[in-house]
């Protein structure tokens, strides 16, 4: 399993840069990954999404879909794209220390 420095921490990641051991996740690690993803600073709205994703992951074993985030009332899809430009489901999951969302086959 490759190791990688994010910020000041060495973490285990998969080939796509997702943490493989959630116990290594900290808010600093999250901020460092966010910076890699081009998000300069994580604000309260980002944290709300990250925390919701972690809670869902704990309950279901999967990162929630964009539709799930939208339906849960946490955030609209439009806002989600503003907070995590590009691929919000994947970026937010990576920042939250979750495994890569299962590409639906």
């Amino acid at each position: 399993m490759p190791q990688k420095m994010v910020g000041n921490a060495a973490v285990d990641v998969d080939a796509d840069g997702y943490l493989t051991d959630f116990s290594q996740w900290t808010r600093d690690v999250a901020a460092a990954i966010a910076a890699e993803e081009g998000i300069a600073a994580l604000g309260p709205a980002h944290w709300k999404v990250i925390e919701f994703m972690q809670k869902e992951f704990k309950e279901t074993g999967q990162a929630p879909s964009i539709r799930r985030l939208n339906k849960s009332g946490v955030i609209t899809t439009k806002e989600l794209y503003e907070l995590f430009p590009g691929g919000p489901a994947k970026k937010a999951a990576r920042i939250a220390g979750l495994k890569k969302p299962e590409g639906c086959v």
Binding site: R68, P85, G87, G103, C104, V105
Partner: protein, 418 residues
């Protein structure tokens, strides 16, 4: 008398009924199947209708014809399931009590989920996931004189995730044969980062799009369709203009699941991916497109699931532990045009890989590589579907669980399991 009720007489419900009627004593168990209509469509055939290769009447037979003797077939709309009361309520007011329930109500396209999509519906916006849609698209293609043809996947998961690729390949092929390819730009618009979800297949299929001069717009999530201006607008602000939009709208489970309060955000029933038992209900099982398991929504998957589902229902009835045996196995032919097709074989853990199928070296079917014999395989499959698959019979040499034998990971050392 105890009751097993199956909701849905599509591929999953029909195969499950055929397996279980054989295994459950007729003296002890009544078996009831409910569906809203009696028309069983061979869904892989939808793809061929817009190009005139098949007609609606070629791919439809009565559902009831494929159910075994000793099954009570009720044609009615299902209102909802009352899982706490172990009963199903039909819209006509009838109530069906059950000891065990199988949910096989499938998935359907829901264009109304995307603002604006219905405004140009069947004028400049078409689907080929319904028999009527495929037929209407066929009529439209005949008169389409040129411009931008966008093939669009709105949101994943969708049934048969390779179908939109096949559609794009067929369009290219058809236009070339008619000498009109230079009049039409084909664009492939997908929310995925590439042509497919898994890297090796994505690379190979993406390469084929490029070779056929089909432009890919990836990572595109549609916020709305502006039917008047004929463009798809993405959440990130990107726009894809079109003259003809062939879309695969958001796929969702049955509204009945939502009315029952049992579904996830896509109205799919949360189901254990290995045992196929509903996560929250001991005596409810599910298979096929109706579940949320992360396998392809495809007929081959239902076929592989059905054996395991039948075994697990028998185990549940006997009070034995369930067998966590479903591995996500899928097996699909991908039509490429020009009489060739690609075959892919994969599961939850193993992505589609090159190699030979079903036998290493001998094949005869090559994996992840265009070939004529795969195209013939797809054509033969229609016969297999009606005569073997729906009846719950085994398909020769293709077991429920995926085999590694014959597969090769490109660039990797020889796989130890070969």
């Amino acid at each position: 008398m105890r009751h097993l009720v199956i909701l849905g007489a599509g591929t999953g419900g029909t195969v499950a009924a055929n397996h279980l009627r054989k295994k459950l004593s007729r003296k002890e168990w009544a078996l009831t199947v409910v569906d809203r209509d009696d028309e069983h469509y061979y869904q892989p055939g939808f793809l061929f209708i817009p190009f005139g290769f098949l007609e609606k009447k070629d791919i439809v037979k009565p559902k009831s014809k494929f159910l075994p003797k000793g099954v009570d077939f009720i044609q009615a709309e299902i209102d909802r399931i009352f899982p706490a009361e172990n009963r199903v309520l039909l819209e006509d007011g009838r109530s069906l009590p059950y000891d065990y329930l199988i949910v096989a109500t499938g998935a359907e396209i829901v264009p109304s989920e995307t603002p604006g999509m219905l405004e140009g519906w069947r004028e400049t916006i078409f689907d080929f996931y319904t028999p009527d849609g495929a037929e209407a698209l066929g009529a439209k293609l005949k008169t389409f004189s040129g411009g931008t043809l966008a093939v669009h996947v709105n949101e994943t998961p969708i049934k048969c995730p390779v179908a939109p690729l096949e559609f794009a390949f067929f369009c290219d092929d058809c236009l070339r044969r008619h000498g009109k390819r230079d009049k039409v730009e084909i664009v492939y618009v997908t929310p995925l980062p590439g042509a497919f979800t898994k890297p090796v297949a994505s690379r190979i299929l993406g390469g084929l799009l490029e070779k056929k001069n089909i432009r890919m717009v990836a990572d595109f999530n549609a916020e709305k369709v502006d039917a008047a201006a004929r463009k798809i607008v993405g959440y990130d602000g990107r726009e894809v203009p079109y003259d003809l939009l062939v879309t695969v709208p958001t796929n969702m489970g049955s509204e009945m699941i939502e009315r029952s309060g049992m579904g996830n955000e896509f109205r799919f029933l949360p189901t254990d991916p290995a045992t196929l038992r509903a996560k929250k209900f001991e005596n409810i099982f599910a298979l096929g497109d109706a579940t949320d398991v992360p396998a392809s929504k495809a007929g081959s998957v239902v076929h592989f699931q059905s054996e395991i589902l039948a075994e697990n229902i028998l185990r549940a009835i006997d009070g034995r532990p369930l067998e966590p045996a479903f591995d996500g196995h899928a097996n699909c032919f991908v039509e490429m045009g020009k009489g060739k097709a690609i075959l892919i074989d994969f599961n939850y853990e193993t992505e589609p890989l090159p190699g030979r199928f079903p036998f290493p070296l001998l094949g005869p079917l090559p994996l992840l590589k265009p070939s004529r014999i795969n195209h013939w395989g797809k054509l033969v499959f229609r016969w297999i579907y009606w005569h073997l698959l729906l009846r719950g019979r085994k398909i020769p040499f293709v077991p429920a669980r995926m085999k590694m034998a014959g597969k090769k990971r490109p660039g990797a050392a020889r796989d130890g399991s070969q």
